[in-house]
Amino acid sequence: MSKDNQILEEFTSKEYEHGWSVNYEADEAPIGLNEEIIRWISAKKEEPEWLLEWRLKAFRTWKSMNEPEWANVHYPKVDFQKLRYYSAPKQTKKPKSLDEVDPELLAIYERLGISLNEQKRLQGIAVDAVLDSVSVATTFKDTLGKLGIIFCSFSEAVKEHPDLVKKYLGSVVPMTDNYYAALNSAVFSDGSFCYIPKGVRCPMELSTYFRINAANTGQFERTLIVAEEESYVSYLEGCTAPQRDENQLHAAVVEIYAAAHAEVKYSTVQNWFPGDKEGKGGIYNFVTKRGICAGDHSKISWTQVETGSAVTWKYPSCILKGDHSVGEFYSVAVTNNMQQADTGTKMIHIGKNTKSRIVSKGISAGKSQNSYRGQVQVMKRATNARNFSQCDSLLMGDRCGAHTFPYIDIQNPTAKVEHEATTSKIGEDQIFYCNQRGIDTEDAVALIVNGYAKEVLNQLPMEFAVEAQKLLALTLEGSVG
């Protein structure tokens, strides 16, 4: 036991790797939230009138809404008047290429292991890097542009492709959808916009990297992905934040629109600062993610590896509207110390012959609470809908909790829906087996956990899968006891 304690101590004293912050000159909105601030943000971003109206409408709705309390998470309430809703690195003008980007900003991303410069040389991933509230750089724009793919920051899209933005903004997640989505609609500062034209298969992974740097700042980005008929795109999202004592808010919205025969794959590795071992600080991650399979034979696949955040409230969902459309959700959620996660998915079957698959693997350690909350809904018209859900939980330590709340609502007699869930701890016999073969307990746990999460990790693109595996091992290091 003493050895276990020792390992545990070593681990819990381990600092959050991305916990540093950088002082750079920033352009900031005054603290607080009111219509003036929204006008200020909108003016700052030189937005058209309709978008300002849209924001104000969202804000007015938000004011009439109540913070949701049904999730299985407990945290001190956010004082929305004490937050700053806009913070941007000061740049005199928008850079045309990476060479013009402030080297200090690039250095931030270098430290995160995402070298924007290197991206130029290495073929592979196009990155849109978002720092605090604004997008600092987008790589590979020209290469993508030749194929007709639009991949840029949201504010740029508003200026250059207003029709597309106007058409799809809020079409999947209406501004009144929920409390945090309404808040985001009112104050969103930037994000990524991606448009894949008809018949185009995006040749590289598109990626957004989010980082919160400034203190007392909420990050409210908005991602909109539109995949036209017969197109394909794989999209990656990563996030980190500095280590601060106070809680920070991240309330993002991701919308995906898939037309007929289109396929969108969205992968997230979320590693926001989870707070220290006493649960002090950390990010509140209240995110609304939803995709609509609008056309027949379309497919949306969500893959997420959630290791960070003090509180996670996130349900990437699929509306399966087109006939024969497919929705997938693969998730690994790891919580340690005082982290709380309430995450899952919604699969709404509307079209005929629609299929969905949910694989959720929860791992809780320390004093954390990990909940899966999901809904499978088969509407009356959705003949021959098929769903398979599997939600497994792994518990490490006797102070943590794992919870499952699956809702299954079926209104069509031809539906086939299966749900299964198990909760257990790592088998002592498995660890013993590894020990016997000279693998120490620490490695054995990592091995078992990786095996346990393999089904999900396999869904990640190569680069992410390696990172995710490392992250899993790191998050759980020493948590066996």
């Binding site: 518990l395 919870h403 499952t404 699956p406 079926i410 007699p413 539906a415």
Partner: protein
């Protein structure tokens, strides 16, 4: 009728409540007033809009008064081949004169105050439990002393009928001593066609190593609204088995809770719902594992035809101290018609790590190939379907340990499925 408010509906009922249990009733009333009737979309009653239904169906919210029952009526109501003791209730009131006394068991009406009433089915948990606690009249207290093995089953036979009032509020207090064994059957017979609302509370206190079976048949017809709270505490080494068969009801909500309080005890909850027409049955079950080394099993099977709706919410709660828990839960449903709806939510809340818990649930339809196989062998489609559905619920039927009750249920199911085999 005016719209239901959370307060006024049952006010007359509360006013006319008996005088005994005054403290308990006052507490129940206060909780009832603070909770209020479930609002639309309230999580616990999300798919069962009982408040709206009450408003629509019930016109007189006073208690239905007891009426006389003949020996013949009782005789006719017994299951074929039933061999056991019968306790008779009229609109929730226990009628000792028509009931048999059972050797070695203390049975009395709840006119005499039993100190522990209300300690198991806690009023705070459900507004209807609070309402019952504030307004029950003439319930029953059954005490099976230590080491007594009641060989024959005890049938709790209720006759219900709306008269000047339409609310029936039965309350049973059942205490089973250490090492005692007993089997209960719970059945209600509806007289007359007018709708009524049953708000039932059953509390079962099981001692160390006690063996308790509670078999329940809900077949009162499609005019009945019911909310029942059945809650059981069991101690070490005890075993409690509940089988709940629902075949009709306008809107029925069963809250079945099981608290496992001693190590090595076992709780089983089984159920069938076989619905047609516009029946709506909602089974909410809750198993609370508080101590290490306990086991719970749960299996509910549903078949839905017509415009019926089935709701299942099963919760397994494993507390921090409840290491080495084994908990299993399964809910399978078959939809037979376009308009039937199933809402199911199997829930796990686990706060301990060394446990084995699993749940599974499925919604589907009959296997076409199995149907074809039977038809190819000259069994007509209706019969083949019936056979397959019967086999589907068979797993639960096997859990019924009393032959007469089982045969009665089998007959009911076969009749409903339109085939005899």
């Amino acid at each position: 009728m005016s719209t239901l408010t959370t307060q006024d509906t049952f006010e007359a009922l509360l006013e006319s409540a008996p005088q005994n249990f005054s403290e308990l009733r006052a507490a129940g009333k206060a909780i009832y007033h603070s909770l209020g009737l479930p609002a639309a979309k309230e999580e616990e009653y999300k798919f069962t809009a009982i408040t709206k239904k009450l408003e629509k169906t019930i016109s007189d919210f006073r208690a239905a008064s007891p009426f006389s029952i003949s020996e013949n009526q009782i005789k006719e109501s017994l299951f074929k081949g039933f061999d056991g003791h019968v306790l008779v209730f009229s609109n929730g009131k226990f009628l000792p004169e028509l009931s048999q006394s059972i050797e070695g068991i203390e049975i009395s009406t709840l006119d005499i105050e039993v100190a522990e009433v209300g300690s198991i089915a806690k009023a705070e948990k459900d507004v209807f439990a609070a309402l019952n606690q504030a307004s029950f009249a003439g319930g029953i207290s059954i005490k099976v002393p230590k080491k007594v093995q009641v060989e024959k089953p005890i049938l709790l036979l209720s006759f219900n009928q709306a008269n000047e009032g339409q609310v029936i509020i039965p309350r049973y207090w059942i205490e089973v001593g250490d090492f005692a064994e007993v089997t209960f059957m719970d059945q209600s017979i509806a007289l007359g066609e007018s709708p009524y609302f049953v708000n039932k509370v059953v509390e079962v206190k099981g001692g160390i190593n006690s063996q308790i079976n509670y078999f329940r048949l809900q077949d009162e017809g499609n005019q009945v609204l019911e909310v029942s709270n059945i809650e059981t505490d069991v101690q070490a080494d005890a075993r409690f088995t509940s089988v709940n068969i629902s075949v009709s009801g306008d809107m029925v909500r069963n809250n079945l809770s099981l608290n496992l309080l001693g190590s090595n005890c076992e709780g089983n909850m089984y159920g069938i719902y076989l619905l047609n027409g516009k029946s709506h049955v909602d089974n909410h079950t809750n198993v609370d594992h508080t101590i290490p080394h306990a086991e719970s099993n749960e299996l509910y099977k549903g078949i839905f035809d017509g415009q019926s709706r089935g709701v299942f919410n099963g919760k397994i709660f494993v507390r921090q101290d409840a290491q080495k828990t084994n908990a299993f839960q399964q809910n399978n449903n078959v939809l037979l018609s376009e308009d039937a709806i199933v809402n199911t939510k199997p829930q796990l809340e686990i706060w301990a790590d060394d446990v084995k818990c699993s749940h599974g649930c499925t919604v589907g339809q009959l296997d076409e190939e199995a149907l074809f196989y039977l038809q190819a062998r000259g069994i007509d489609k209706t019969l083949a379907k019936g056979l397959l559905l019967y086999a589907f619920v068979g797993e639960v039927l096997e859990k019924i340990e009393d032959e007469s009750f089982k045969n009665h249920v089998v007959e009911l199911i076969q009749k409903r499925l339109g085939s005899k085999f």
